[in-house]
Structure formats: structure tokens, C-alpha cells
Symmetry: D2
Subunit: 291 residues, 4 copies
């Protein structure tokens, strides 16, 4: 990473600078750290890195897609994602009951085990109650021993999943709720999140992919001006010129009254997070833990 820093060009240089910023963010005790998790990162084997970051105290708030939490649960109950290939016949995979995520294969069996676990776990919820989404995530995490949700429950940090319906966890919840009456309040997490933003001395965002997690993390600061993120690192494969938020620059966020402060230390690295995430985290840990 130091050699990348010396070379300093293009995304290699960005990666070196993102490592510097991430090291600052992780060691600044006044900073509340938000981790955004989008893209098929858990199927892609990145779950362990996120879990360890939580266990070692580097994450205060996790915002994730529902899919990542679904696949985290699937691994935590003992099912596995396999390394397959993207050069294949998907009709054949369908016949063989294998679900493909690019070059990762997940046998449909896993979803049967997942359904059993989910229905049993949801069955412990009390009828007639109302739950926030992070409450639901916590409930699941408390029934798991390993993985991101388990680590978050143990570390007592919230897992926000604004689009939880948009996942297998959501589908299982809907199945469960056919016969039960537990309401998930879509806005049940928002006051807690606003309090976190309001009380934070400084704030840092580490964004793996864009999507809902990135937007949700950034918009959380809009209600507490003149605050904004003091540190921001994003790893994305999207480019800005298509206009979407996932590829938007961190500078653009500065124009939005306080998403990111004018003085923020901020860096985007374009590329595949299955390469850039392990690299940056290994380098940051090396610096912090062997300093």
C-alpha cells in the first residue's frame, strides 16, 4: 500500500489515500462510523471482513441491503456459497436447483434451511406488537452465532435495512405474517438514527457499493445541519456520468447542504470491492494494530 501511495496514480493512488482516510476514521475516537454494505458482498465472500470490523469495534452503525443480511444468515446457519463459474447454462442450473450470483453458486437447499430457521425465529415474536426493521435484524442476530448479524447483536450496534421487504428475509417475514400479526414500522428506526447523527461529535462513512445504504447514510445527516461527514470512503464500480447516486462523487455530496463537509477527508476508489475492500482493510489494520 505504501508503494501504491508512492506511485500515486489513478485508482492505485486513490486506494492509498482511502487507506489513509480510513485509518484516521477508525482511530479518531470522536468519530461515529457508519458502514454501508451494498452489492453482492456476502455471497462474494466479504462477510468475514465486515463481521470482524464489527467485532473489533470499528463500526457504530451498519446500513445494508436485505440481500446481504439474507446471505449472512444463510452462512450463519451452516449453508455455503460455492465458487462456480459465470460461463454456464442457466436453464441447466435451474433444473439442478442452483441459484447463480455471477460466478457464485447457491443450491436451493440453502433456502429450505433458511425458511426453517426464519419461521422458527420469527415464531418467537409476540403477536400484536410493532417492530422496527433494526429490531427485526437484532432479533435474527440474537439467534445466530456467527456472521454479521450475530456480531452486530453482540456488539449492540444497529443494523438498518431500509428495503428489508426487498429480500428473502422480507419474503420469509411476509410468509410468517400471513398467520400472525406483527407490524414492521417502516419508519421505526428513524428517530434513533437521527439521534445518533445529532449526538455524534464527528462522523465517518465507509461505503461498500452505493445503492440504498449510501443514500440512507448520507441523507441521515441532512436533518442535522450544519453537520456532515468528516470522513468518507467509497468503493464503487459505478462512474459518475450516468447520474446515479451509486457512482456520484463525494464532492457532489458536499453541494447537498451537509452530507459531506467541505473540509472532509473523502476518497472514492473505482473498481471491484472484492479486491479493494480486503486490501484497504488489511492495510488499515496493519497500521493500527502494529503501530
Amino acid at each position: 500500500m505504501e508503494e501504491l501511495g508512492k506511485a500515486g496514480a489513478y485508482n492505485g493512488g486513490y486506494l492509498a489515500r482511502a487507506t489513509d482516510i480510513c485509518t484516521e476514521m477508525f482511530t479518531d475516537v470522536d468519530t461515529t462510523r457508519f458502514l454501508g454494505l451494498a452489492g453482492a458482498m456476502v455471497p462474494g465472500g466479504m462477510g468475514g471482513i465486515v463481521e470482524d470490523l464489527i467485532r473489533d469495534g470499528y463500526v457504530d452503525v451498519l446500513v445494508s441491503t436485505g440481500a446481504n443480511m439474507t446471505h449472512d444468515t444463510i452462512e450463519a446457519i451452516g449453508c455455503h456459497h460455492y465458487h462456480g463459474t459465470e460461463i454456464c447454462d442457466d436453464d441447466e442450473l435451474y433444473e439442478e436447483e442452483i441459484n447463480r450470483i455471477y460466478d457464485i453458486f447457491l443450491p436451493s437447499d440453502a433456502f429450505i434451511s433458511f425458511e426453517e430457521f426464519m419461521q422458527e425465529t420469527l415464531g418467537e415474536l409476540t403477536d400484536g406488537t410493532t417492530l422496527s426493521i433494526s429490531g427485526l435484524m437484532r432479533h435474527i442476530g440474537e439467534h445466530l452465532d456467527t456472521g454479521i448479524l450475530a456480531a452486530a447483536a453482540e456488539a449492540d450496534i444497529p443494523v438498518y435495512c431500509p428495503a428489508i421487504q426487498d429480500s428473502m428475509i422480507g419474503l420469509q417475514y411476509w410468509l410468517f405474517n400471513q398467520m400472525h400479526k406483527v407490524t414492521i414500522d417502516a419508519f421505526g428506526d428513524m428517530s434513533q438514527l437521527m439521534d445518533t447523527c445529532f449526538t455524534a461529535k464527528k462522523a465517518g462513512a465507509f461505503l461498500i457499493g452505493g445503492g440504498v445504504p449510501k443514500n440512507y447514510i448520507f441523507q441521515s445527516m441532512l436533518m442535522t445541519p450544519p453537520k456532515g461527514f468528516d470522513y468518507a470512503v467509497q468503493l464503487t464500480g459505478d462512474r459518475p456520468d450516468l447520474g446515479g447516486l451509486s457512482g456520484a462523487t463525494l464532492d457532489e455530496a458536499k453541494s447537498w447542504g451537509g452530507k459531506v463537509t467541505g473540509e472532509a477527508h473523502a476518497q472514492t476508489v473505482y473498481g471491484d470491492a472484492t479486491i479493494n475492500l480486503p486490501l484497504i482493510i488489511a492495510a488499515v489494520r496493519e497500521r493500527i494494530e502494529h503501530a
Copy 2:
């Protein structure tokens, strides 16, 4: 478009084929049509195309990001997105209270008008009730004269917004709810959506961008096997090799027990939807309406 079809190469050929499929999808009376809307399409001027598709009966179900519905509302109440430039100083824009979306500028004034409209409109909701997200969208749409939400309300089609909290509409709702008690049931739309899938003879998906709308549309079919989408067109700037769903091929969806059928007519076009969407829709309308 016919010449593109004759040339037939690369994304030019894809666009021609997507036009064919879209024409079939729009004229097949047995088909229930799902439109997914992700990316900053409304700020990018694509709202009118979507509104017209709804008004002309080409859309049965809309799934959108909250941001697109926010910007649709902003335009419907008379505020404007301006064509600016991405080569600018974002700190200066912040000082001038201009919010930037790549090369589109939105003055902060718009959010003041938006807040007034939203608080007044939400104020008509009855305390103590529970609403689905599409119910909330319908309520807003009924208070607007133009735009996507207005058209959807008039056409009586549902607008699903699984991550509505993750938008300015969501923030306004949260503000409103500080003093009121209207619960938004995160799962309140799911049974209706499942019914739609269950009763559909055939199904078509037209996906502008990926994100939550794409996943939500595809997963809706997972609960009603052996059904799956018979037609699918996606316009995306993402590539498959990063593993994320937004760039995933439509073939991959076939492996997932029924998201897309093995015999489906399906085509992805890689590129910027601000070019490919107007092109494809103009060509499809030309064929249908001047046939």
C-alpha cells in the same frame, strides 16, 4: 432503430432487440407489465416518458426508488431541475444553496416548497391509522396534477417504493410523524403484489436501472412458481462482473427458480438510460401507434 437492427452489433443490436421485445410486451394483452425505475431518472428529465407510459396504459405496476418519486413531486408542484455542469466547485454550490445531481442543479428553495406541500398533504392523513407504502404514494399522487405519481393515481396503478424511508419523502414523513401517529407498514403492500403475480397470465418487466426496483420486481415472482417473467428488458450502466444485481444478466435470473422463464424474451442494453430510454420508447410507440 431498424437500421440498428440490421447492423445488429454490440449494444446497438441489443437496443434493436430490446425494442422488439418491448413492442411485444406492450401489445400482448395477457401481460401484466412491471416498470422498475432506479437511478436519477426524474432529475435527468425522463419523468415525462414514464408518466406518458402510465397514462397510455403501458404500465400495470410501478416500482421506484423514493428519490425518483421525490423529484417527481418537486416538479409536479412547480419547481424545476436545471441543466448545470458537473465541472464546478461544490463548496460554492453549497454556499449558493444549489444541490447537484451530476450536471443537474436543484436549488434548495425547491425543498422548502416540497416541505410545505408534503406537510400539508400528510396532514390530511388520519391519526392512528396504518398505511402501506403504496397507500402513501397514492395519497401524494392524489394531491398532484402532473407527473408520475399523479398519473399513477389517476390510472389506479400501484406505486411500490420498498425503501421509501430512504428519500426526502421519507424524511418529510418522519418529520410529520414526530407529532402524529400514522404507521407505515413496511410489508403492507406485499399481499397485493403477490396477488398480482399470482393472477397474471403472463408477466413483463421493463427495468430502467437496477437497484431495489429490479430486485423487488424479480423476487415477487419467486413466491408464485412455476411462473416467471415472459418478457424482460433492462437498461443498465452496470456490468455483470462486479457481482451486483444491478449489472446481473437476465440469464442469471433464470437460474433463480422462476424469476425469468427459460423461454423468456429478454434483453439487456448497457449504457446510459437518458439515451436508451427515449430511443426505445419512441421506436416502440412508433410501431404500435402507427402500425
Copy 3:
């Protein structure tokens, strides 16, 4: 295109602006127009557009990859590129003697006809002479009736191909030269090109793809400061952040003492040229010819 211009966002807006610039460039009688042609554009069916631009007087200098001129020749002698599919078994294609360019198929037969044509045509060159690369291109073009090389020969415009060895034309030339002695002077075109730059009142660059053609066109201006391109349009799928010239912004070219003037009208459009090239040229011709 006018509607794209009104929407004005992202690459849709870029395309509208590029159309404006291209219209100016094509109608400004003081402007010498350079066309750069990289990427597999002729196999992708774009040859006819380029040929017509030459025939109608919109091109003064063509700089191309050798591959595009090879495929132009192959079509001009009556062989065809077929629309195949990129989802295929390349070992099987090899067995069937079909050469693939993404979703375009070219049977190996075509190369047999090409070899016959080339050896016969090259056979007319006088042993012991020295030729420039554009001289070689002209010689080939004079033996063809249709296509880019034929049109350029008829219109008496030079075709520069700096890396001609790097193509099937190059391989055929090498075969021919095993038994003959005609020297191709790598630098034989440079003085003529410099003269063109020196005498040009104004200059315009229309760049389809990047690669050698883009660099060669831009560097030609470096020797004639304080000149630079007054108009520049590039259609590219590459992004700037990887550092390569193919994705470099036209602004970057301004820093290089005169490649592009500070006041130049310049626009990049990111995307697939098999879509953007036909669009922009159709719109420009519509404006010029029906004005």
C-alpha cells in the same frame, strides 16, 4: 435529439451538445476535419456511416486502426460479417472456422478471399520502391468499389494507419514482402500530416473510440503551436479514472500545449458508439441537409 437537448442530463445531454458541435464543425468551411476510427466499428456495421461521411465531403483526414480497414476491405470484396451471439462455445466456433467479434461472426472463408485480393493487389506494387502507409491504403482503395478505402481514394483524402502492421492487412503485406522488396516507411506520412495541420485555418476532431487514432490526431497538433483543435467530439466507452488516453477528457488535452484550444467546442459522450454514432450523424445530417 432536440428533446434530449431539452432534458439535457448526463450522456443524453452530452449527446445533444455533441450534435451541436458536430453540426458547427461540419458546416464551418474553414475547418479541416479529422476523423478517428478505433474499436471494432466496421465489423459492428458502422462502416457505411463513415463511408458516406467521406463521400459527402465531411472528412478531410481519416486515421484508423488497421483492423477497421481490414474489415472494410473484406466487405468491399463481397464477404460479410454476420450477426451471431456472444453466448457461445468458442472452441466450437474454432472447429467451424468462425471468427468471433463479440456478437459478430466472420467465417474464415472471408480471409481466404481477402488473401487472394491482397496478394493480387499488392502484386501490382513495383519492387524496390518505398511507400508510405497512406500510399498503401490508397493503393488498396483504388482496387475497391465500395467501402471506406474506396471512398477515401475517390475523394482523394488520406487514410493514416500508424499501426498498419498490427492488422490482417499488415500480415498480408508481410507475406507478400517475403518474395518482394517494397519498403513501407513508418514515417512516410508525417510531413504531409504536419503540412495539413500547418495550413489548416481551423481544425476539428471527430473521434470514434480512442486508441492510436485519437492520440495520433491530437499529437499532430503538437508540432504546430499555437494551434489546436477548435472542435472536438469523442464517443468512447472508457472512463477517465483509469488514466488511459482512450478515456481521457478533452479538457485534459487542453493542458497539453495546444492539442485542444482553451476556447474549443468540445464534448465527450460515454457509451457504445454503435448507438451514439448513428444517432449523432443522423441528427447532424438532418440539420444540415434539411436546414
Copy 4:
């Protein structure tokens, strides 16, 4: 890298597999190794890695763009590329005589030193002679102490630069040749290259970027069927769907009668080579040298 191999997904998995293949390629004593060098890799600080690979005997044939050899020479004569920023005013840079390559700055002074060195070095060539391009590269390399050209000259490996005119070296040569008469035979290297392909027991291609170097390396095998590359690794930021060779899959090359053999060990890694090149080479060296 081993952990990336275990995770195995997306480009992270590709990188691990490319490392395996590269290790095989570098240790297989029967293999002739071709290195392709495109993109602004020397300005981006990657020159040292390439130089060391040559010095340590891992490269038998180098095919490069002219620009990389220009910047290699500039560094070898003691000038420097500086880490600047891509967020800048290019008109200002022009005033300050700083040439920009994305976020790398190169002061125009460097080109003055480069001109002096080149004119002096070229001045040693004997009038009336004819030189191949690799002969010209060798001549330059023999006048340098450090860098790629120097290492290649010392290691006695050829440097092919099919588009040498398309570079500052080419412009300097043209200047020199205004008053001298040394002919550079565009095809002067081809027989030697064909011999290398013909006599190679096995062949490996390590492709940094695409462009002319990739095509030239692959086409060299077309004349010596049934040979083809037994090993191939490419690091590219381009995607296949635009049709261009730079993003074309290595499978596609199999359809082209022998560019890559059906049984080849071949892997593409999509991303920025300023990250992926140092990673892969560090891992390969670790394995080979500490085995």
C-alpha cells in the same frame, strides 16, 4: 492473495486465478513470454515493475505503445512525473506548462530535456540506413541506464512498438529525419517476431491493457498455426459488450484460429492495472522466489 482465492468471487477470484496462471507461465521453462503494455502505465508509476520483470528474466518479448516508451525515456534521463490532481483547471495548467495525464503532472521542461537527448541519440544513426522499429528502440535503450528500454537492451530482448509514429519518440524521430535520411521500415520486425512464434515450444501472454500491444501479440500467432498461447492473463478496464478488442474476452480469442489454444490457462481481470498489476506481480514473485 490466498484469501482472495478462497473467497473466489468476481474480480477478486479472477485476480487469484490470474496469479496462479502467471506463476505457471513464469516458471514454465518451455514458455516464451510476451508482455503487452498499453495504457498510461509508465506515467502511472508502473514502469519499475515492468523493468524488474525484464531484468529478472520473466519477459522474452515486449510490445508497447510508443507513449509508454516515451515516458520511460523521460524518467530514465532524470525527469519526473508528479502526483497532481484531476480536479483542476486545464487552461491554467496550459499557462503553467504542465501536461496532465489524469492525476499525474508532467512539466513541459521534461520535453525539452527529452528533445535534447533524442536528437543527440538519433544523431548517432548512420544516414542512408534502414532500421526496424525494435532497432530504434534498442538504440535508445543502449543510451539509457535505467528504465524499461535500458533493461530490454541489457537483457537483449526486443521491444516492438508497431505505432511508434504515434508518440513523442515518433515526433522526435520525424524532426531528426527532416535533415537526415534514416528509414524506419514499418515491417522490419515482423520476420523476427514470426520466427520467435515459430520456434516457441509454448507461449504466454501477459497483457497490461489492450490496444495495439494486445492485438499485435495475438495476431503474431495467426501465422504459425496450429500454435496459440498456452497461457494468457489480461488486466483491463474495458468490458466486452462494446465490441472492441481491448475488452474482448480471452475465450473470443480461441475462436480466431489459434490466438489462444482451447486448453489455454487464461484469465481476464477487470479493473485498474495500477492496483491489479502490483498485486499480481508481488504475489507471483512471493511464490516463485520464496518457494
